[in-house]
Symmetry: C2
Subunit: 329 residues, 2 copies
């Protein structure tokens, strides 16, 4: 993989980070990863996570470094390391303070979901029964995110909110980790209407390998996944699709509970799971960790995609999107 | 002043910032200012001040911008603006968390005093009766400041603590705003011992125009001040001396109370003032605001300093010090 001319970029991971995983990134030839650093954490708690990342960057400078702009992916390739770009899956990190958008961008935040599964101060999450679209603060924050170069991510948002974000944002938005509902109708997967609006606005779709988003879940085959990629490329165009694996490697089940429950309820919420399967689902055979991207590349060849499109999906498309998205307007 | 080849840099101001003051910086041809953004504020409160500065940078982009490295002073000169560098007068902003050193450096903090007037978690302030030197955390934090490129500032620290900081720091430290005690024996001014150790270690002294640090206080003449500059240059060498005006323009007296009292006492502490003169003292005639640096330059000529030394004191020396100090090691 690392000998390929194309970049290898993963549009979302949230692993239980360790030297082992950073070494696997290198073994897999991964040039850049957008990592989730925060869900329901407030600003100070999010900064504490950034401090942890700073320790990892200091401890493993030969494996990883923090990415701030697309050119850092070239640097990663030149120096044989993986560039780590920060993102948030919920706007808890900006609290009720629009000024924290610029502060967190300065600290390296490059993606922020306007919602996780619930209503936020900004928009409606995909698990609410009603969807009010962008809130008053949501419209202000999207404008500020556009200004500083923080990408609006609507992976976990409800449909109307997503369409309004696409419409209101003056820069292309991303859905970093989800699949088309036409392939697997999960609540988290996206309708044709959303995919079309995303595509027409220059937005980006990162295709997910999280079992709940896969047809056949943990039993999904690489060819089923790659045929879906080919169909999505037909629908979205060859340059606006990439991978957002949603790899949650080595996480204990207490983490998926935090992701789903945060501090908003005293009960258990199973999210995409269920009472009988409350934890992280097992990953599909063909994608267990960062060393397995070659299986997907091979599957894309078998699905009949041309080399340029395959290189695009594996990383070159994200590279171009990062290049357009992270600098101030 | 703006036609001069030399840079004009002020090593400390803490004004009640406004468009008026930013315009005066431009009228005075000031290329860069180290501004105090925080005293006793904790991390979150400090970030709120940074948010305020971000609004000023957004509102007055033709007058000011945030400086992160010495090269930004060249950019300031080329674009006719003033580069603003952040500093803290107390380590409250890092709380008890060494990880915040790198976070605040990323947000642009370039100077941090290890103490204000009192004992801190790091060292002893100049108003304590005993001086224990650097604390255990102080030694760790100085090492971390050295690593990331955050300058140790000992302007308000006690003597032993200052000498230990000079000794322990692997990079030159600064006293951004104080004068030699040989000229005016204020508690805040520095002994020959400190000046010699500072000089021998490559450290930097910013000379203060705050009346309590001046011989004759508010009645100090420009020639008395400039003769002191000449004598300090003889003692410290011509390249390690600059200005740190400590200009607190337009501040209400409630601010000097916050600086002195913070949240550490329920009583009033008068610091360098007194019960009969509790507020900010009036500035000397020759230096009221950023348009008055020319008076000092003229005074330095009259004091018999050569052109290179004068250009050094007015800003070229700070420029060189910034260049050595702000990048990670």
């Amino acid at each position: 993989m690392s000998n390929s001319a194309g970049f290898l970029i993963d549009g979302l991971q949230y692993a239980n980070w360790s030297e082992k995983i950073f070494r696997q990134m290198r073994q897999g030839g991964v040039d850049a990863v957008h990592v989730t650093i925060t869900y329901h954490e407030n600003f100070r708690e999010t900064v504490h996570v950034i401090e942890k990342w700073n320790r990892w960057f200091e401890t493993y400078p030969d494996l990883i470094f923090q990415g701030f702009r697309a050119a850092d992916i070239d640097l990663a390739r030149e120096t044989g390391r993986t560039a780590i770009f920060f993102g948030s899956q919920n706007p808890s990190c900006i609290e009720d303070d629009i000024g924290l958008v610029e502060v967190l961008h300065r600290l390296g935040l490059r993606f922020m979901q306007l919602t996780y599964n619930n209503q936020s101060l900004l928009a409606t999450g995909c698990y609410e029964s009603d969807d009010m679209g962008l809130t008053r603060m949501g419209r202000e924050v999207v404008r500020e995110m556009n200004r500083v170069g923080l990408v609006v991510d609507m992976s976990h948002s409800a449909e109307r909110s997503t369409l309004e974000a696409i419409d209101h944002s003056t820069r292309p938005i991303a859905i970093t980790h989800a699949n088309p509902a036409f392939w697997h109708p999960a609540l988290r997967n996206k309708s044709d209407t959303v995919l079309q609006a995303l595509s027409e606005s220059g937005g980006f779709l990162g295709l997910s390998l999280y079992p709940h988003h896969l047809k056949g879940k943990s039993d999904c085959s690489v060819q089923s996944f790659c045929d879906m990629v080919a169909r999505t490329v037909d629908c979205m165009g060859p340059e606006q699709v990439g991978l957002g694996s949603d790899l949650c490697q080595d996480q204990p089940d207490s983490i998926v509970e935090w992701m789903r429950v945060g501090r908003w309820t005293k009960s258990i919420d199973y999210g995409e799971g269920s009472a009988s399967a409350p934890g992280f689902p097992p990953m599909p055979d063909f994608f267990a960790d960062n060393r397995d991207f070659g299986n997907i590349r091979a599957g894309l060849v078998a699905a009949g995609l041309d080399q340029t499109t395959i290189d695009g999906v594996m990383g070159n498309n994200w590279k171009r999107f990062f290049d357009l998205s992270f600098d101030p307007q």
